[in-house]
Amino acid sequence: MTDDRTGSEPGDLGTYLDAALALAGLPLEAGLRPRVLMHLHTALEMGRLVLDFELPDEAEPAPVYRP
């Protein structure tokens, strides 16, 4: 099983999660914390794929605001 990491806490991801949620004022009970960590870990792996892709500085984001 590749994306079920409920038992692990990679790096100091748990510390980051707790601090970021506290800053945002979002409550998280202990029972759900491993699940949130699992999803965060998966999303960061996905995000790493995105960040690792080289784009030119001129690359424009997809949504364009039209005043």
Partner: protein, 476 residues
């Protein structure tokens, strides 16, 4: 229209009311059957069948009968009726229906005030003569591929009640797949029209991003949200789409691109269309049923060449993190103030989304344009690309994992592996059911270039004419 229907024999009317939608409309316009008779038969069927499917969260019987009577009165007064005259339809409960709170599958939204006006697309259906039968079940806040809902109960698969309807427009798929109504509307951010179409064995259209108005519908991910129709045949799907098009200043994402009617184009079928098969990512992680559906569709359409979109995994990853972060931003106050009222399976993902680094999301939006440009390069050579809609037929309700390519994976996030990269860049897609003799159907995606809904619909019609794509009868 048979003499028995003219005599309003109850069983025949009940059968007739299940569609095709265009046959109902023709009969109502010509006066061979009344809109009220169709509406009453539909209400009766919903009363008997919906307890098995749990597709509806609210049946708007009073409204529907009033709309049907108004149609019959208009016809009696010599007024022309619309292209969907008397056709029953229902909408995912994230569309505003005047007089009802817009639930979006949640418990929390029950406390919202009742909507004071219908969603734009509901208004357009009613203007076309369709009769609104109510609001349909969905996954909480549309963050779902299963059709499961802990508040309203799961909408069920019309071909096996022990299996998922697909999400998040589960009720929309279940209601049309179960022949409760001939037409429904749903939303698709990452696959929520195409997944229920595949699991429930019906046709669905996710139009180009910016094509159909989202005004007065409850959002999920503004960057990626689309609305669209479901039907049991291609002509009904095209006619409904045609009725829904048109500019609307109340949806700022709408593009200024004219939409030509697609229904008159259908009989051209696939003639002249250059059709390819998507390989790479779309030929991995699926089951034999998914690959077989693509092979049968490709053979029927004469598609021989397999091509690849580059970097599909990154496209899927980008859609994944954008959805998580935008969804979290949308629900931030509710996550803070009403955490216990969420489905934990939704809340746990939104909380993760709330702490994703901002730079990652900006990069994902930059990548979105890059990926869009690569897709346009492919569409210089092709009009339609075929891909699986889902990697599997409907899993069992509550199923947590499945095995794809020999690897055990979580069901919930991975049902949408083939749909997510396509909606990421807003391409129009018809999901077409390709049934076999197995009890659970599965579908394919017919993907076209931006604004070419007509090409996807024509390919679907060609599959229908070849007897390859059709909505199988439900087992109820």
């Amino acid at each position: 229209m048979s003499a028995t229907v003219q005599a309003h024999a109850p069983s025949t009317i009940a059968e007739f009311a299940a569609g095709p939608a265009l046959a109902i409309a023709e009969a109502v316009r010509s006066g061979r059957v009344s809109a009220r008779a169709i509406c009453e038969a539909t209400l009766a069927r919903i009363g008997v069948v919906d307890p098995k499917l749990n597709a509806f969260t609210h049946v708007t019987a009073v409204r529907a009968l009033a709309e049907a009577d108004a149609l019959d009165a208009a016809r009696a007064a010599g007024k022309a009726l619309g292209p969907l005259a008397g056709v029953p339809f229902a909408v995912k409960n994230l569309f505003d229906l005047k007089g009802l709170p817009t639930l979006a599958g949640s418990k929390i939204n029950k406390d919202r005030p009742a909507a004071t006006r219908d969603a734009t697309l509901v208004e357009r259906m009613v203007t076309a003569g369709a009769v609104c039968l109510g609001a349909l079940n969905m996954g909480e806040y549309a963050y779902d591929f299963t059709g499961e809902n802990i508040h309203a109960g799961n909408s069920r698969n019309p071909h096996d009640h022990g299996h998922m309807s697909g999400g998040s427009s589960g009720g929309s798929g279940s209601a049309v797949g179960g022949k409760l109504v001939p037409l429904s509307l749903g939303s698709d951010t990452n696959g929520s029209i195409r997944v229920p179409s595949s699991f429930c064995g019906i046709f669905g259209l996710k139009p180009t991003y910016g094509r159909l108005s989202r005004a007065r519908s409850f959002p999920f991910v503004a960057s990626l949200d689309h609305l669209g129709p479901f039907a049991r045949n291609v002509a009904d799907l095209a006619a409904t789409y045609d009725a829904l098009t048109g500019a609307d200043p109340e949806d700022p994402a709408m593009a200024d691109v004219a939409a030509l009617p697609t229904l008159p184009e259908l009989e051209r079928g696939a003639d002249g269309l250059r059709i390819g098969i998507l390989g790479g990512w779309f030929a991995r992680q699926g089951t034999p049923q998914a690959y077989d559906a693509v092979a049968r569709a490709a053979a029927a359409l004469g598609a021989a060449r397999t091509v690849e979109l580059p970097e599909v995994e990154r496209a899927r990853a980008s859609a994944y993190v954008i959805s998580m972060a935008e969804g979290a931003a949308l629900h931030r106050e509710r996550l803070r103030d009403r955490p216990a009222d969420f489905d934990p399976a939704v809340r746990e993902r939104l909380l993760a989304g709330a702490v994703l680094p901002a730079g990652m999301i900006v990069k994902a939006q930059n990548f979105r344009r890059w990926f869009h440009d690569r897709a346009l390069e492919l569409f210089a050579e092709f009009d339609v690309l075929i891909a699986p809609a889902t990697p599997v037929p409907a899993p069992r309700s509550g199923q947590v994992t499945f095995v794809l390519d020999g690897k055990e994976m979580l069901v919930r996030p991975n049902i949408g592996i083939y749909t997510q990269p396509i909606s990421f860049i807003g391409l129009p897609v018809v999901a077409a059911p390709i049934p076999t003799d197995e009890p659970l159907p599965i579908g394919v995606q017919l993907i076209a270039a931006p604004w070419r809904e007509d090409a996807a619909l024509r390919a679907a019609r060609a599959l229908e004419l070849a007897g390859v794509a059709y909505a199988p009868e439900p087992l109820l």
